[in-house]
């Protein structure tokens, strides 16, 4: 861990977050935080609400109730210009990279600089190349996104996300669709960003190898509720059967309703639990 990092300083604070999608309740009273210089991994099965939570942390959605404070600011209260200032201090690497196909890799990375600063073109180009070096894509600035492999696209997306030295980096499923070797290299990159650039990094992933490799703390969601928040060690030591199943990738049988299961499989219901 770096000296000069204040581990109690909370960069993101979520309090009693409740959110709906239409009439469906997605997140139920979620509270968590992300601290300075840590890698926080958000895990959960499908339907757990982890993607929704991430979207709220990125201020892409408006919650039904509860507060989200990013770098001390209550997001819903910010005016346009203040929101833009805040956005310049956060970076997002989306699952598919979300690079703009009509621009080169370099132009993609320079885009936030182009739109928000008065920097000279030469400065922007040097900064873009610096970030490409950090993500191991040196020399790729003139290629088009369609010429890159999946792993390269993700790294280019990360370069764009960190071009303005943000305080918080969000990574949505960084390993999705990658083979273990490339995925592992990406994990290394995330660790390097935390250590060298002293970023707080929020990662949503379901790859357990990555979780064990990069997480400082973990938030586990289950059906819209927090199942666990704590350090990786605390996660491994958790007595909860559900969590241990999650960690060992066993099918989760803890609350299998046999009657309902048979009904689902056969399409026929039987009154009472008969001979189970």
């Amino acid at each position: 861990m770096n000296p000069n990092i204040n581990p109690d300083h909370k960069l993101i604070e979520v309090e009693n977050l409740v959110t709906h999608y239409g009439s469906r309740l997605i997140l139920k009273d979620v509270s968590m935080d992300v601290r300075e210089g840590e890698i926080m991994v958000i895990m959960g099965g499908s339907g757990s609400g982890k993607s929704t939570l991430l979207r709220h942390l990125m201020a892409l959605e408006r919650q039904t109730s509860g507060t989200i404070r990013i770098l001390g600011e209550d997001v819903v209260r910010l005016g346009t210009r203040e929101l833009v200032e805040l956005r310049m201090k956060t970076g997002v690497a989306f699952q598919g990279g979300a690079l703009f196909s009509s621009m080169t890799v370099g132009e993609n990375i320079m885009l936030p600089l182009y739109e928000h600063t008065d920097l000279d073109r030469t400065t922007m180009e040097i900064m873009a190349r610096m970030k490409l070096e950090v993500v191991n894509l040196a020399g790729f600035e003139n290629l088009m996104p369609s010429e890159l492999s999946g792993g390269m696209i993700k790294r280019a997306a990360m370069a764009r996300a960190i071009v303005m030295d943000p305080k918080i980096l969000f990574c949505d499923e960084p390993s999705a669709g990658l083979d273990p070797v490339v995925s592992s290299a990406l994990d290394e990159l995330i660790l390097r960003l935390r250590d060298a650039m002293r970023m707080s990094i929020v990662v949503v992933t379901h790859e357990l190898e990555s979780v064990f490799k990069i997480a400082d703390r973990v938030t586990v969601l289950d059906q819209g509720r927090i199942l666990f928040i704590g350090t990786l060690d605390e996660l491994r030591a958790s007595p909860s059967e559900r969590i241990q199943n999650l960690l060992s990738r066993r099918a989760d049988d803890t609350d299998l309703d046999a009657d309902a299961y048979l009904t689902r499989l056969t399409g026929e219901s039987v009154s009472g639990t008969a001979n189970l």
Binding site: L60, E85, R87, V92, F100
Partner: protein, 271 residues
């Protein structure tokens, strides 16, 4: 109500119509809001340090305008000749075929050039716009713009809107010329009226407000094409197939809107 056992089919149908109307009104509302937001960015952009970008606008104008010239020329010439044929054929009944020029000139500049150009651009560029925005939405590129603090309306919609509003009237004017010329060739061939005489008569007939009638309509069509393209693209759901769906919808909706607007315009102006 739809589950009311007495009149299940009827109430279900009514509900369906109601829902469709409500969502259509919502989409028109979205479109209106988009126009206002675009105007906002056009005017205020420089002040808020987020100006509209010129190179991308230029590239779009090339694609919408210059690349459409061949097909617009073809269609305009064809329509021009068609109008000449029909006009002469009909007026022959009264022995008035030499008066055909006024009919041709007014129909082309007031109705056919803007209509055909609008429909062509809707099919070419309206669909392309919907497809582009739909694809971007699916790839989370719109989200990426948001998280980078870049307003998607300013970045995507305003350039598209500017490009169509400039290019469609230009293309319409171009098709006016091509259509009139092609019609003139037929008139010359069929009736022996010289091209010089034909064009003299055209110049006499075509007061500026006939031309403006057609060109201002085409500007409105341009707005419809851009806004309908964007609104549909942004409403995409469901992957690549979804993009195909919204593209088709965009073309159908913009052509319908163009034709309806054309009729309203004609009605209002001739009051």
């Amino acid at each position: 109500m739809a589950s009311d056992p007495q009149y299940p089919a009827v109430t279900a149908t009514i509900e369906k119509i109601g829902r469709a109307t409500a969502s259509a009104v919502e989409e028109i509302g979205n479109g209106g809001a988009l126009i206002f937001e675009s105007l906002y960015w056009l005017v205020m952009g420089r002040r808020l340090r987020q100006p509209v970008r010129l190179p991308s606008i230029f590239a779009q104008m090339m694609e919408i305008g210059i690349n459409a010239i061949p097909i617009v020329a073809l269609m305009a010439a064809t329509i021009g000749v068609m109008l000449a044929i029909q006009g002469i054929h009909t007026l022959r009944i009264f022995g008035a075929e030499t008066r055909v020029t006024i009919g041709i000139a007014l129909s082309i500049t007031r109705e056919f050039a803007p209509l055909i150009t609008g429909i062509l651009v809707a099919g070419r560029s309206g669909s392309a716009l919907a497809a582009r925005i739909g694809t971007m939405k699916i790839n989370q590129e719109i989200d990426a713009l948001y998280v980078m603090g870049i307003n998607p309306v300013r970045f995507l919609v305003v350039p598209a809107l500017l490009s169509t509003v400039v290019m469609v009237p230009c293309l319409t004017f171009f098709s006016d010329i091509v259509g009139l010329f092609a019609a003139g060739l037929y008139v010359n061939a069929e009736l022996g009226i010289s091209m010089a005489a034909y064009f003299d008569e055209v110049r006499e007939i075509l007061t500026p407000d006939h031309l403006m009638h057609g060109l201002s309509k085409s500007a409105i069509f341009a707005v419809l094409i851009a806004v309908i393209g964007v609104v549909n693209g942004a409403a995409v759901a469901g992957g690549a197939e979804g993009v195909g769906r919204v593209t088709t919808r965009a073309v159908v909706q913009s052509i319908s809107a163009i034709v309806v607007t054309d009729m309203i315009f004609a009605f209002v102006v001739t009051r």
